[in-house]
């Protein structure tokens, strides 16, 4: 499994890429593998507000439904429309083609609640132990 070093991570297995005041959010390699074959994706509309730690969408595999939790608070600028049409891309490329939403960061202070790649991997170990 792969966890890029330039990303920040959440306990709920989302990743965040920060670029100035814009954050791109997706799910991690671990999350996509746990979910299995992803077949459905529900994302918020542009302009909607999301709140750190709260559900903002839904991802479904053949056998299960899971909430997507916002890694940061903010306003949705863009959603990955092609991904909604082809959600199986999440199983193939969860970090590039498989990004979910881009938001305008509401409160930069929230960034300190996120993990770096090392602590995230430790978190997975703990969770699976």
């Amino acid at each position: 499994m792969e966890f890029p070093e330039d990303l920040k991570y959440t306990k709920e297995h989302e990743w965040v890429k920060v670029n100035g005041e814009i954050a791109t959010i997706g799910i991690t390699d671990y999350a996509q593998e746990q979910l299995g074959d992803i077949v459905y994706l529900e994302l918020p509309a542009e302009g909607e507000a999301v709140e750190q730690g709260e559900p903002f969408g839904v991802v479904e595999s053949v056998k299960a439904v899971s909430d997507l939790y916002a890694a940061l608070s903010g306003t949705v600028l863009e959603i990955n429309d092609p991904l909604v049409e082809n959600p199986e891309t999440l199983n193939e490329d969860c970090y590039e083609e498989g990004w979910l939403i881009k938001i305008k960061i509401g409160d930069p202070k929230e960034l300190k609640n996120l993990m770096d790649c090392k602590s995230y991997q430790a978190h997975i170990k703990e969770e699976t132990a």
Partner: protein, 360 residues
């Protein structure tokens, strides 16, 4: 402590994802549900279903006892035949759905759902009389059950067995060798909508048979694909379409219940349901909106919840959300549209002809 089947180590070796199912640590998937599902539809998949329970009935009155316990007519079986049947409560509710295999006129095996082994065994014992003319035995812990399913299954099994598998009719079984292991029961039955066999063997024989079948090219297939396969074939699953509170008629299992049979537990109550008419029944529906129905989601008519989804999934074969559910009878005709309450969003579904998938 969850139990393990004698094939547990094989599943670990194959990298299976293990989940607790009915008190057993079972493989839910190996390569992935979709890939395994398609392997069974297009080639062959091998399942470990040794968690299922087996009860043996022997003796000159075994047949009469079984006919009292079960809703189908055991008297119609000849040697080497299997029959789908039900154990019913006296109020008509379903204790379990089962298969009854007749080896001889005085030797039968009942196969029950893993989640119900204890309940069913208590049920059987509770109804047993003091007659010395039959004996019952719970042999669940001695027997392994493997299912090889898919268009290539028969061909594969033929190469591994001394029995004429390709001449075996549906719901018949032969007793012979598989991969050099003797006295296996090889039945042309299954739970996937495909052709195939189910193999009963002793625990000690299971790993060798498992390995030999995989060597012939079958794909190991987990419980995840087993569920999507059975749902496409519109096969009921206990705890979903049927349970202690559902009656066989509303569940679409009237064909199993032989009301002309002398007597069996639940007969009176089911007869009464038939006379009074059904209030609700199971239908199969597919989603017209892009959404996936799941067990427990309400079925809605003009904003009123009127029914419930009993099973739902994304259908790998049809690439659309499909489900089974109970609806009032006026919503049961093919082509009827209703809405499913999916996380507070109402999504449109339509009743379709069953099964969702039928092999050519």
């Amino acid at each position: 402590m969850p139990k393990r089947t004698p094939l547990y180590e094989e599943h670990i070796k194959l990298g299976a994802k293990i989940v607790d199912f009915a008190g057993f640590e079972m493989p839910v998937q190996y390569a992935g549900v979709m890939e395994e599902h398609n392997a069974v539809r297009n080639h062959a998949g091998l399942f470990d279903v040794s968690h299922m329970g087996e009860f043996e009935f022997t003796g000159s009155e075994a047949l009469a006892f079984l006919n009292h316990l079960t809703a189908n007519d055991v008297g119609k079986l000849t040697d080497g035949m299997a029959q789908y049947s039900l154990l019913c409560h006296s109020n008509g509710g379903i204790v379990d759905d089962i298969l009854v295999y007749r080896k001889t006129a005085e030797h039968f095996v009942m196969v029950v759902n893993a989640a119900n082994i204890e309940k069913d065994w208590n049920w059987v014992q509770q109804h047993a009389t003091s007659s010395t003319q039959y004996a019952i035995r719970n042999i669940s812990d001695e027997i392994c059950l493997l299912a090889l399913q898919g268009p290539k299954a028969i061909e594969m099994m033929q190469r591994l067995s001394d029995q004429k598998i390709s001449e075996l009719k549906s719901f018949r079984f032969a007793i012979g060798s598989v991969a050099g292991q003797n006295d296996c029961w090889i039945a042309r039955t299954g739970y996937t909508g495909e052709d195939g066999v189910e193999i009963f063997c002793k625990n000690s024989q299971a790993p060798l048979i498992w390995q030999a079948i995989l060597k012939s090219g079958a794909k190991p297939t987990g419980l995840g694909a087993r569920d999507t396969l059975r749902l496409e074939a519109r096969l009921s699953l206990y705890g979903h379409e049927i349970n202690d509170e559902t009656n066989p008629l509303e569940a679409g299992l009237a064909w199993v219940v032989k009301l002309d049979k002398k007597d069996f537990i639940g007969k009176k109550a089911i007869q009464k349901v038939k006379e009074e008419g059904l209030k609700r029944q199971i239908v199969g529906f597919k989603m017209l909106d892009k959404a996936i129905p799941r067990q427990g989601y309400p079925i809605v008519e003009e904003k009123n919840p009127v029914g419930v989804v009993t099973s739902g999934t994304f259908s790998p074969t049809l690439s659309v959300g499909i489900g089974l559910g109970y609806v009032p009878t006026h919503l049961s005709a093919i082509g009827t549209k209703f809405k499913i309450d999916i996380r507070s969003n109402l999504k449109l579904g339509e009743v379709v002809a069953m099964p969702f998938y039928k092999r050519k």
